[in-house]
């Protein structure tokens, strides 16, 4: 692995596992988008932030919505402002120059940026498969056309592209064919200890041990549809810290408060409350 400044070694608040670091670096070298899957709350989105931070590149986030069309992600032609300007003429823009009314979308911004950027395309599974395939075409060729002004925008610097998906089902084959793929597994206790340390450097050893132990025990409850993930653990510890009546002993005895932070579905919460009462 190249150990120069351009290889990625994790961010200040992100514990990077070795495998993932390799995958990220290979993707950057091969200039391919990296598709990340994994349980919600395992840090898929965080990874892009960490890459941007560590490589000192600006981060551009495209949050995909189900109603989104590809062109929205590329550019917008602000017809209404132009109409308004043509009517009242009190702006400094030149109405006859359409280009002044073109605004870049997120992908467009990443292309025209002077610096190399990290482009995060979050939750791609929300869009339909046409959007996904067309977008990959654009990212493959690193250029798109603005039809209104008959101009082709070509990427000045090829952005580092990270795509996340929450979908259980697979994306389309042509899409997958153009990406590298990694699945972020749920961290084990050792990694989780590191993650907790990074987020709560002042938390006592005993308390963090007790929290993590209790957390993995709670995660093992049966019949839970949405299991608590790293994000929930962090929030939970934050809540425990503010509670002056919290004692490590009661936590390790199986007495877990604030279950609502960990279990977000009412059926899950009910099941968890029941099972944790039985454990006591």
């Amino acid at each position: 692995m190249t150990k120069d400044n351009n290889s990625f070694r994790g961010g200040s608040k992100y514990i990077l596992d070795d495998e993932l670091a390799k995958v990220v670096n290979v993707s950057i070298a091969l200039e391919m988008p990296l598709l990340l899957k994994g349980e919600p709350g395992t840090g898929k989105t965080m990874l892009a932030h960490a890459i941007a931070e560590s490589l000192k590149m600006p981060l551009i986030v495209l949050n995909v919505k189900s109603s989104m069309k590809l062109v929205d992600a590329l550019y917008q032609y602000d017809t209404l402002t132009r109409l308004n300007d043509s009517r009242f003429g009190d702006s400094k823009r030149d109405v006859s120059n359409i280009e002044e009314y073109i605004r870049m979308g997120k992908i467009g911004q990443a292309f025209v940026s002077d610096l190399r950027t990290v482009l995060l395309i979050d939750e791609i599974d929300k869009a339909d498969s046409d959007f996904q395939d067309d977008m990959l075409d654009v990212l493959d060729q690193m250029q798109f056309d603005i039809i209104e002004i008959d101009k082709t925008i070509t990427a000045r610097n090829r952005p580092v592209i990270v795509i996340t998906s929450n979908a259980k089902k697979d994306l389309s084959d042509p899409f997958l064919g153009r990406c590298n793929f990694h699945h972020i597994a749920f961290p084990d206790t050792g990694t989780m200890r590191l993650i907790v340390d990074v987020h709560f450097p002042n938390l006592g050893r005993d308390l963090s041990e007790a929290c993590i132990e209790a957390f993995y025990r709670l995660r093992d409850f049966k019949g839970i549809e949405k299991k608590p993930a790293t994000r929930e653990l962090i929030n939970w510890i934050r809540a425990l810290k503010t509670d002056p009546e919290m004692h490590i002993k009661s936590l390790s005895r199986g007495n877990a408060p604030y279950l609502g932070i960990l279990f977000k579905k009412s059926a899950d919460l009910a099941a968890a409350t029941q099972q944790s009462a039985r454990m006591r």
Binding site: M1, T2, I15, L16, D17, D18, E19, K22, V23, N25, V26, S27, A29, L30, M32, L34, L35, K37, S66, T79, L80, L83, N84, S86, R87, D125, D128, A167, K168, K169, D170, D173, L176, G177, C179, N180, F181, H182, H183, A185, P187, D188, G190, T191, L194, E225, K226
Partner: protein, 397 residues
């Protein structure tokens, strides 16, 4: 060596494309891969595109890189991969060009024979380059398993991986859980059913229609006239009919319940009816099938654009379907056969499907499934099946 690996993956049913294989070669030639560990991770990221196949990949990898010596690929294998390459080339010349590190225009000038030759030459480079690489596999000896065996229960994820060779990691089969098809959860259902909607304008007029605005403004000689439209919202009507009787449906209660819950929370205009085995003169709005009957004949008055979803195993005694008075309930005096009722429904609602919780390969063992299959398009109650059903429901007939 790698070609064999590639083919073993393919044989085991992993969908690995030649393009991605070439991409792996490129990663090798870029010097990105310097150990088996690197190879394990990189090859997986490039070749395997779904966590469902990770387990299979682990198995092949472990079997493959466990103390095996490097061996040059033989002729037959090469012809095979060349064949695959050519097929891919015909489909997508640019990608192959890129993977080979060639210009697309250069590639176009090549005849297929030249291309093959070029590819083979490159491959030879590759094996030679890595022949120093006999050691490539396992720096500390022929077997990569040996060189790092001192931490048997150690962790892989989280920066402690140095204690473990990739082969060992592969042998752990960490992704076993992902390879199995779990039961259908509500989240998965929502993914499959997400496209089941029909957008119709409704509500307040608060969306600017740019095209119309410009047109009207021009008509107004430049005086701005902004035209608003109503927002589009989902107004799809769904009729869900569930077979909730009989022991034959018992094993599927859970999955049907999930579907039911999802449908209840998601669709605004949803009617749920119950029946047992097949439909006679009426269906019920209550699950006990007792208090709120609704005659089937009334369904002709319902919106024909509504989507009808039948859920049931479609398994019953044939006479229940074909006989007049076939009903197994004494108090139901029937007119017309069960199958005619079904045909009536299928004719009334153009968009109708039957979801069968039984596996598709079991269907032909039951006579009545075949009969109903001819009336309703039938789909498995699985992720794939749901998706196909939704496609069918949303298609314009």
């Amino acid at each position: 060596m790698f070609i064999e690996f590639f083919y073993t993956l393919r044989e085991r049913g992993l969908p690995v494309s030649p393009t991605s294989f070439l991409r792996l070669q490129k990663a090798l030639s870029l010097g990105m891969i310097q150990s088996v560990d690197d190879f394990y991770t990189t090859a997986r990221a490039i070749l395997v595109k779904s966590e469902r196949y990770f387990d299979m990949y682990d198995q092949v990898f472990a079997q493959f890189f466990r103390g095996v010596a490097l061996k040059a690929p033989d002729e037959i294998e090469l012809t095979e991969i060349v064949k695959a390459l050519l097929e891919e080339w015909l489909k997508n010349p640019e990608q192959i060009a890129e993977a080979l590190g060639l210009d697309a225009s250069e590639l176009k000038k090549m005849t297929p024979e030249e291309l093959i030759q070029y590819f083979l030459d490159r491959l030879k480079d590759q094996t030679e380059a890595h022949h120093g690489g006999n050691r490539w596999i396992g720096t500390g000896g022929t077997s990569p398993v040996g060189h790092s065996g001192y931490h048997p229960g150690g962790m892989r994820v989280g920066g402690q991986s140095r204690n473990k060779s990739a082969v060992k990691v592969a042998m752990e089969r960490r992704y076993k859980d992902y390879s199995q098809e779990g039961p259908l959860t509500e989240v998965q259902m929502s993914e499959a059913l997400k496209r089941l909607r029909r957008m119709i304008p409704s509500g307040p007029k608060d969306i600017v229609n740019v095209d119309k605005t410009i047109y009207e403004t021009m008509r107004n000689a430049g005086e701005i006239e902004i035209i608003f439209d109503r927002r589009l919202s989902d107004r799809l009507k769904i009729i869900l009919m569930i077979d909730n009787g009989g022991w034959s449906m018992d094993p599927y209660v859970e999955v049907v319940q999930t579907l039911f819950h999802y449908a209840r929370s998601q669709f605004k205009d949803l009617k749920i009816y119950y029946f047992h085995n097949t439909i006679y003169s009426r269906v019920w709005q209550d699950a006990e099938r007792r208090y709120k009957p609704e005659p089937i004949d009334d369904f002709i008055r319902k919106d024909p654009e509504a989507r009808l979803i039948m859920v049931g195993d479609a398994s019953m005694a044939p006479y229940e379907l074909i006989h007049t008075n076939g009903s197994i309930y004494i108090d139901e005096v029937e007119v017309g056969t069960g199958i005619e009722r079904l045909k009536f429904l299928a004719k009334t609602f153009r968009h109708a499907v039957w979801l069968n919780p039984q596996r598709e390969d079991e269907w032909r063992h039951t006579f009545t499934v075949g009969m109903i299959w001819r009336v309703f398009p039938m789909f498995e109650l699985t992720l794939d099946g749901l998706e196909k059903a939704v496609q069918h429901l949303m298609a314009r007939h």
